[in-house]
Symmetry: C2
Subunit: 177 residues, 2 copies
């Protein structure tokens, strides 16, 4: 941030009075521009003993496999956001969403909330964001080609919990290398 | 948002190509300025059969009672954020945090994540944000003077679950009136 989004004048990075960390401040408007983490919401879409992965057709990680997920939008519930992202990336409709894993990814100011879910039917198709969609069972997962560490961790936890038959809600952290 | 935070030129609200909702776009920088919900994190601090509430000494809802909670900061885990807010507003240290309630508040683009927690010891004090701190048992809760609907719902759910002895993670929604 270099300029005030309210008046267009340059902002200054300083610690405001009664605060304890640097913020972008506009001296003209007297506005403090707070910056906060963004929430990504997504799904593990199950169909029988398989799960649906998408091969990314956009950067970053074009060509790698992932689970459907994306930024929560203003005005949207977390569940609606996860369903929307799943539909946008896979063409599939999910149901029975249950909150499963929340990841803190502090070095990039992101949070991921992943839902356990079920495909309404095994209908999915290539989309502008995914070049290929496929149902994988556990031994077919392309572990070396998963695009993001958070998705790899989600899948590992999922298969671990599937062995026990329960998917308790958990908070985990993704650290930078 | 009226001006680009990167170059200071006016932004335009329009639906970008390959998108489906209006965004603030800077034609000079070719930047789309996305806006997303913000996450508030907080605690229900327990001490024996009582819980700690704070009387707000700042607006909004100055003079009303609430639970400690505030915006998650960049670079911070949800648990660290909830502990920090509790300390800032009550002077108390909490432990044994367990994720309990997630609220979608779509009409103000906020999410609340409230943790079940325990006071390390019954030490708390007035802070710049709270004019009074007090441990309440269930029948003492000042229901008519709780500052926010999300906090009232948190407390109601808490006392309901306490009767059963378990605090399962749940997602709920706060709607506008």
């Amino acid at each position: 941030m270099k300029y005030c989004s309210n008046c267009g004048k340059p902002v200054e990075l300083l610690i405001p009075k009664d605060d304890d960390r640097p913020r972008y401040v506009c001296h003209a408007c007297k506005i403090v521009h707070y910056q906060n983490p963004k929430l990504v919401v997504g799904c593990i879409p199950e169909w029988k003993n398989k799960i649906l992965l998408c091969r990314r057709d956009i950067e970053p990680k074009k060509g790698k496999w992932t689970l459907p997920a994306g930024y929560l939008e203003n005005g949207e519930t977390v569940e609606d956001g996860a369903m929307r992202e799943t539909f946008e990336e896979t063409g599939a409709v999910v149901e029975n969403l249950s909150p499963y894993l929340l990841f803190d990814i502090t070095h990039i100011n992101q949070l991921y909330l992943m839902f356990h879910s079920r495909l309404v039917k095994p209908d999915f198709h290539v989309t502008p964001e995914s070049s290929e969609l496929r149902l994988f069972d556990e031994k077919e997962i392309p572990w070396g080609e998963i695009g993001f560490k958070v998705i790899e961790k989600t899948l590992k936890q999922y298969f671990k919990d599937r062995n026990t038959g329960t998917f308790p809600f958990r908070i985990q952290q993704i650290k930078q290398h």
